[in-house]
Symmetry: C2
Subunit: 409 residues, 2 copies
């Protein structure tokens, strides 16, 4: 008998028909003798409908009141799923985040989980109930309802799995696992049977939409065994996210090619090459609440250097304004340039730690296609390059082929 936490997203519970399908799947596991906790999101579209209502009333909705009303989306799903399970003859009981007592801080709309009281759930499980929990929400210590931010249902699932010491946390989505890259761009993309947490973090933050990044961090921190599965396919083992130390199988060198075209790059040219200059440039950017992704600074010459970085495309104009009007005059930079027509392409894989030549193969592959590399940034398990926007798909395809990701592992 295993204790399994399953999480179903909004698309999986988007209609009452689909909720019944989820119930049948959950019931099958339960009938096998497993103890099951199910975490569900709001029915697809419901959260946006509620936010829309709020904005009709208040242009910038008060965050406490927004959480109060938006949290109802999951409260409806859990009731419906519990009913569907009972209709199949199983004992089931639903809980809101507040009823479980998923305690969070009071940062409305983006709260963080501080603790979970798992006693009530464990008692129900021991009495044979399937327990259905609302994802995405919690309660602060004063009893105010909070939400964890978009994608927070994944985090709820992982946090519950950690609190209950579950054998596995299964995340059911509309894809059947994590792929070597987006199949819409490379039809030969393959589903990975396993991926390490570190790789998953790089893949997620680099634009793979499969799992919310915070849930992966959470799973890594509490060593929760996480599996991504399709809620629309009956069979299939999905992708298991492993701890590197756990794995004894022959690890592929490269796991996938990630990409992101939501960024823009900025360059401050001709700045004095002296200590503190990076802070003087990036401090005002951080103060304006702009997240910076890649940062590249090369060796200077003649006492001058250039510093480039990327930000989300939505923050591009704001960042340019800060650099031109505030930073450049202050530090005496020669010029500020920027470009929003860029894309980031990343080669990800823990295997590259022990394999030389991954970087040079990446660069050669792109050069052979005449794709100019504008920026390079590397970590232990990934190589990211910035290229002109229009070359993104081509770059992903040729790299996917070059690293033989279309070949069965």
């Amino acid at each position: 008998m295993a204790l399994i936490v399953q999480k179903y997203g909004g698309t999986s519970v988007g209609t009452t028909e689909r909720i019944k399908n989820v119930a049948r799947r959950v019931a099958k596991w339960h009938a096998r003798g497993d103890q099951i906790v199910v975490v569900v999101s709001a029915m697809a579209g419901e959260t946006n409908r509620l936010i829309g209502l709020a904005k009709e009333v208040q242009a910038h909705p008060d965050s406490r009141e927004l959480d109060q009303m938006v949290s109802t989306g999951e409260q409806v799903s859990i009731g419906l799923l519990a009913m569907a399970l009972m209709d199949l003859g199983h004992k089931a009981r639903s809980y809101t985040g507040s009823q479980v007592r998923i305690l969070t801080d009071n940062a409305y709309t983006k709260a963080r989980i501080l603790g979970i009281d798992e006693n009530r759930i464990r008692r129900d499980l021991d009495e044979g109930y399937i327990v259905v929990v609302a994802g995405f929400q919690g309660v602060d210590e004063c009893g105010n309802i909070t939400t964890l931010g978009r994608g927070g249902s994944d985090t709820t699932g992982v946090a519950l799995a950690a609190a209950l010491k579950a054998d596995e946390c299964q995340i059911y989505t509309d894809v059947d696992g994590v792929y070597t890259t987006d199949p819409r761009i490379v039809p030969e993309a393959r589903r990975l049977k396993t991926i390490t947490f570190e790789e998953m973090l790089e893949m997620a933050s680099l634009g793979s939409k499969v799992l919310q990044i915070r849930s992966v961090e959470f799973a890594g921190k509490y060593k929760v065994k996480l599996r991504v599965l399709s809620s629309f396919e009956e069979e299939g083992e999905g992708t298991l996210i492993t701890f590197e130390e756990d794995t004894d199988m022959e690890q592929a060198i490269i796991s996938g090619i990630a990409f992101n075209r939501d960024e823009a790059k900025l360059t401050v040219q001709g700045v004095p090459d002296r200590p503190g200059i990076a802070y003087q440039i990036l401090g005002p950017i951080a103060d304006a609440n702009i997240d910076v992704d890649m940062i590249v600074q090369n060796v200077g010459h003649d006492g001058m250097t250039d510093l480039s970085f990327t930000v989300h495309r939505n923050d591009f104009q704001k960042a340019m304004g800060i650099l031109k009007n505030q930073v450049a005059p202050h530090i005496g930079a020669r010029d500020v340039t920027g470009d929003a027509n860029i894309a980031k392409v990343s080669v990800v894989g823990v295997g590259m730690r022990s394999h030389v030549g991954i970087a040079s193969q990446t660069f050669r592959t792109l050069a052979e296609e005449g794709i100019n590399i504008q920026m390079i940034s590397t970590s232990e398990i990934k190589i990211s390059v910035v290229v002109e926007d229009k070359y993104m798909e081509l770059a992903v395809r040729v790299l996917h082929k070059a690293f033989e990701l279309d070949q069965a592992a």
Copy 2:
């Protein structure tokens, strides 16, 4: 400075535009210096939408889970109204029944309020907040969400007014007060400036849809000053529901004509006229959870009598079955007859206690129109008659005129 509880029903908060109108009205009272607690229902149609979803999943929805999801209707309204109030520059904060702590028993879908913790609300009021509370819902001692049944938002309003010792509880509806009868049947029907609790109870239970009967009982028990007002008219003082002992004004003899066509009558004929026979007939009906309204038994002769009673029309066939198959053979009754094509018409007024002749005037008025009276039942402040369904409107009109209810008091 007064402390006022205002309750707005589903139609009053049916759209975001209407919610903004409610906010403007509440804000006006608040700006006058009053402390305001607002109780709101779900947006019109929302509760039925949620029940519809539930029935798509489970033909007879589990009552705990139904309350879990149906209670979200008000949770959305309170968030929206609090936002609308903030948008007008007022401090506002919303609470679900669970957050206030409106403690109820655990009779899901028809829970009764056991107690209210008013401390949090009082603190907010003292800090200048307008407090918005979800009607219709509470929480049991285990933290399960409960609902009070249809119309329960009125009860929430009255219970909060009682707990807070409010100066007045104002119920805003889509009518501007309590009328002498339904203006759709008698266009000359007049709005009553005052009505006593006892009369209101008779009027409510007899089919006037203005206030939920339990809220009136509650108000009577805790001596809450209750006023019914229109949420769509800016001015107007509505109808004040008074305690008879409070009133020093000249009381009208008759306050109104109520009616109800949702009933059916059943008669057990030729039963032995001996002690315990009423129990032997009505016991099995009560055991089947069928509510009985009027019960009439006349003096018997030759040791035999007839017993008639009325039930809700939905329970008619079930009650007939019990009488025919179970009761009649057991007690040796001659026959069981029934008729669903009936209506009940009631003349209501505390004044009839001290005025003779109200009953005879009622019977004469109906006789003059050739309307046959099938059953009669009286209390201290009302006379009810059962007539054939098709005569109901006529009976209401002629009685309204006979008691001069169209004349200004």
